[in-house]
């Protein structure tokens, strides 16, 4: 499948360049391929990433 990635942002942990898939939406989690940090997409234009919050005790299904 061909998709056009959104412009890259820097990983806030290791500063690696990260592309988000074209169908990304805010609130989604990406993993940094370099350092493995879980990152939350906080905006799409421009693409910004923050470290995702740790799993809370009351999270689940």
């Amino acid at each position: 499948m061909t998709s056009i990635s959104k412009p890259a942002a820097l990983c806030p942990v290791c500063e690696a360049s990260i592309d988000a898939p074209a169908d990304s939406i805010t609130g989604e989690i990406l993993a940094c391929a370099d350092c493995g940090a879980e990152l939350e997409i906080t905006s799409l234009a421009p693409l910004t990433l923050e470290e995702a919050p740790d799993v809370a005790e009351d999270w689940g299904e």
Binding site: D23, I25, G27, E28, I29, E40, A52, P53, A56, E57, D58, W59, G60, E61
Partner: protein, 292 residues
Amino acid sequence: MSNRAALAVVTSRLRVEEKLIFAALEARGAAFERVDDAALQLEAGHASESPWPVVWNRSLSFGRTLYATQILEQQGALCVNSAHVVGTCGDKAATSLAFAASGVPTPRTLVAFTVESALEACETLGYPCVLKPVVGSWGRLVARLDSTSAAEAVLEDRAVLGSWQHSVFYLQEYVEKPGRDARVFVVGDECIAAIWRHSEHWITNTARGGRVEAARTDGPLGEMAVRAARAVGGGILAVDLIEAADGLQVLEVNHSGEFRNSIAPTGVDIPGAMADWVLGRVAERVAQEVFA
């Protein structure tokens, strides 16, 4: 009501499930507002009116879902699932009481509040038995207690974990199962899809791995799942069942069930079926307001 969409979908961190739900709603041309529960400010009380007639809550957080739903319901919103259902499903003791009230078979369960009384409860149930956090999901902190010494260690550990819920010791008899358990999806009064989850581990949970295959939705499995869903109040629910020696038993009902691993093996458009049911509720609500 304002010009806002008639439906809000409340989320926190997005799972695959929420993306599939958004896609299903968009494919149906439904107008909906995506609401991040981290940004919610809700005024408790009748003085405020819910901004949305229908709210579909898909947050990961039990606490946020419970309180947001309670407030939005009092403000007049129809919530999927309802606050009663969320409160019942999110608390294993409340779930057990709902099952007992409706005669839904479930493993024998004892609740104790001190390490000493919990150890006595373990002896009553016999070893092995299972300790579960009264609030928790994804199989976290579920422990099989094989002996008194194991129980002493785990119970002492739980008692110092911090939150008061960890000192509500929810203990269940251990039920041997044939290497699999079932997850059944119930939407309204209908069982729409079911899977068997195979695992050599005593905990079978697709969040923890395990092989999945489709199960029949008609027959005893579907009927028992619908009974369990009704017992907790009904809505969009994922019911977990095991095959005990004397028949099916229901372990729990999930109010924000994950279904990503169940679509391919069953061939059922689970998010689509959920979206159709919610949009049916939206249509009813909008019609009530128009003709009110």
